[in-house]
Amino acid sequence: MKSASIIADPNIKQKPAASAETRTVTGAEAIILSLLAEGVEKIFGYPGGAIMPTYDVLYNYENQLEHILVRHEQGAVHAAQGYARASGEVGVCVATSGPGATNLITGIADAYLDSTPVVCITGQVFASLLGTDAFQEIDILDISIPVTKWNYKVTTAAEIPAAMAKAFYVAKSGRPGPVLIDITKNAQMDALDFVYQSCHNLTSYAPYPRPSQLALAQAASLINQAQKPMVLMGQGVILGEAETEFLSFLERSGMPVASTVLGLSALPTDHPQYVGMLGMHGNYAPNTLTNECDVLVAVGMRFDDRVTSNLAYYAKQAQVIHLEIDPSEINKNVHADVAVLGDVKQTLPELSKLLRPKTYPVWLQNFQKLHAVEDKKIIQADLNVEGDELGMAGVIEAINQNCDDAILVTDVGQHQMATCRYAKFKQSRSLITSGGLGTMGFCLPAAIGAKFARPDRPVIGVVGDGGVQMTMQELGVMMQHQLAVKLIILNNQFLGMVRQWQELYFEQRYASTPMSNPDFCMVAESYGIANQKIDSPKALNQAIKDMLSHPGAYVLEVMVKQQENVFPIITPGASVADMCLESPESDVEQMGG
């Protein structure tokens, strides 16, 4: 294939900027000026040889563009993700070539699966050295292909403004995603005549498919005739900034609504039509009744296998309406009887107009009855803080009682499910969690990014003793920036979720899941971060109050039950309607014990 300069890219149709003026700058300065032109205020990164010209220019722009030095490049990309998800803006991270770039990959993959708009800028060796196994040379473009929405290697300074403009446009438009721009050192050092024209259109890219009026009418007809409909709320509502439109749609239609993990907080948890969370550890009622509803309205979600469980038994009785911006999601996992392509911010109001106002009091009672079963069997016990030991759910409930406007950032595992199940949300963008990739180590750097994005809101990281040790070095960022992130470490001295699976599905053979941990408070202490450790339910409420009232960063280590299980659970391979409310062997164990 022949190679073409991006400047000559026929796909880029640029509108001349009103105040565009040409000035001669280095490529490195062009990178910074491009970021400023895109309205970027904060970037996360780590310097190194191949990106040093850019850092050198950054030194001149410290007042306009704040660079947050992370302690590992994975922290930079997770922080950019946290920033993007808390603010709705594009998160930006910077790393050098070779190991700097490869260390970004996990976070880029996380952003790809969770549709997070992130622009990653990596330095690259001189163009003349490409392909020579030069020091810190790695082909990050090829490595990142499967995990980026778009990526591009810049080898000449003149390409930089157009590449940056396209990167931001691609990252944030349509279904958002991560973009990587790899820039050789010579491109950073050479001069160019800089003029920035933001990108608004690419001929090969249709980010917002036009909704079909026929499909909308068909969807409305199905909903208007439905007896037992149910809405599945996904992250598309948040990404499309369509929370208001969704609420109107919901209240007009009267349908019960359940959320995916990533959809949580798009609707206040206490909304009367909200019936809980979907998925493997979701709520009993919405999972069970997925297989009883007659019309399933999926809004901005992708029928992930953690939501559907075994597809052979998933909602076979239902007519499925799928509102989705990405055509490749239609019919990927679940057949859509009616596909409404488009941005939900546009399609939801159009659909609402065609709906007859309805209510489903009898159908909603079915949810309430099943919720009562779950409440009696699981929730009451989970929230009980009467005993000697603390449970994870009790900690989340204590947060609910003491703070109602926090952004909760979680890691991955049992504490994540406890947070998703029990946290009460009042406003959108209040939960930041690694949904698709399930990245342990996500919490701490993502919480840092979220706090930089929203200094006005409390940011509480909830993390396990396993996950925190994957990116614990980022406490250094909290220290250096006096950043008021509150980190709750739920310490059960196990890799809890893996241990739970070993208990349930691997004959209690606890291979490599018990963990010896450092004293997390001493770790926090060494970073000069206020801290407290509790191990009794009696101390919980006050400890949460202490943490929240402390003006700066805080680490609260909570010793929780060592062998607690998250229930209910859908056994892998089972139907979504076959949720286990308890361990199938729990009765036997109790008898034996």
Binding site: M1, K2, S3, A4, I6, A8, D9, P10, N11, L141, D142, I145, P146, K149, W150, N151, Y152, K153, V170, L202, T203, S204, Y205, S212, L214, A215, Q218, S221, L222, Q225, Q319, D326, P327, S328, I330, N331, K332, H335, D337, V338, A339
Partner: protein
């Protein structure tokens, strides 16, 4: 049922786009049976012809995932029966072996092949046609002995006025989306 599907993928001619396209196939562990890339009548646009053997449902999913790539303009797929396909094959044989084989000329003529180049040491024979025909010619040449053999893989063009498999799917999908709920229920079950 698995069939051979030929994808015609149009993209901007960016460096690295081929890797992005092949990654969509290799991700689902599909082996690419034939691949060719060429310029098109439009400046800056490349055409990638990719042949794979898979289920139609998989082909439909891959087509959408290919079109999701930012620099891919379109990705259509068709069954073999909807295509006119040809490939070029070159066969190198020892000149002396060919001269020693009395039926050599007859074999070449019967298979509509022709001698492209000849010297004292070796002879290059060319043949353009269907995969199976070239395969048959290769087998026929075993009496002479083939030193080296190369084939271009199929170059395809759609039969005029035939609908692409991907377009057929789109039509089915649209019809499905516009029929009444009763019809949809029938269609679904």
């Amino acid at each position: 049922m698995k069939k051979n599907y030929n994808f015609a993928i149009y993209s901007s001619d960016q460096t690295g786009i081929l890797n992005r396209i092949t990654a969509v196939f290799s991700r689902v562990n599909l082996n690419i049976d034939a691949l060719s890339v060429c310029e098109t009548e439009q400046v800056g646009v490349s055409r990638h012809s990719v042949q794979v053997h898979c289920e139609q449902q998989v082909a439909m999913r891959l087509s959408k995932q290919l079109e999701r790539q930012i620099d891919v303009i379109s990705a259509e797929f068709r069954e073999e029966r909807d295509l006119i396909q040809l490939e070029v094959a070159l066969f190198k044989v020892a000149t002396q072996s060919m001269l020693d084989q009395p039926t050599a000329e007859q074999i070449i003529r019967q298979h509509h092949a022709s001698v492209l180049s000849m010297n004292n040491e070796f002879t290059v024979i060319q043949r353009t046609g269907q995969y199976q025909e070239n395969q048959a010619f290769l087998e026929a040449l075993t009496v002479i002995g083939v030193i080296e053999f190369v084939r271009s893989g199929p170059v395809s063009i759609s039969r005029p006025l035939m609908q692409a498999a991907s377009q057929t799917d789109a039509v089915i999908f649209k019809q499905h989306a516009t029929c009444s709920p009763e019809e949809q229920a029938v269609a679904k079950f």
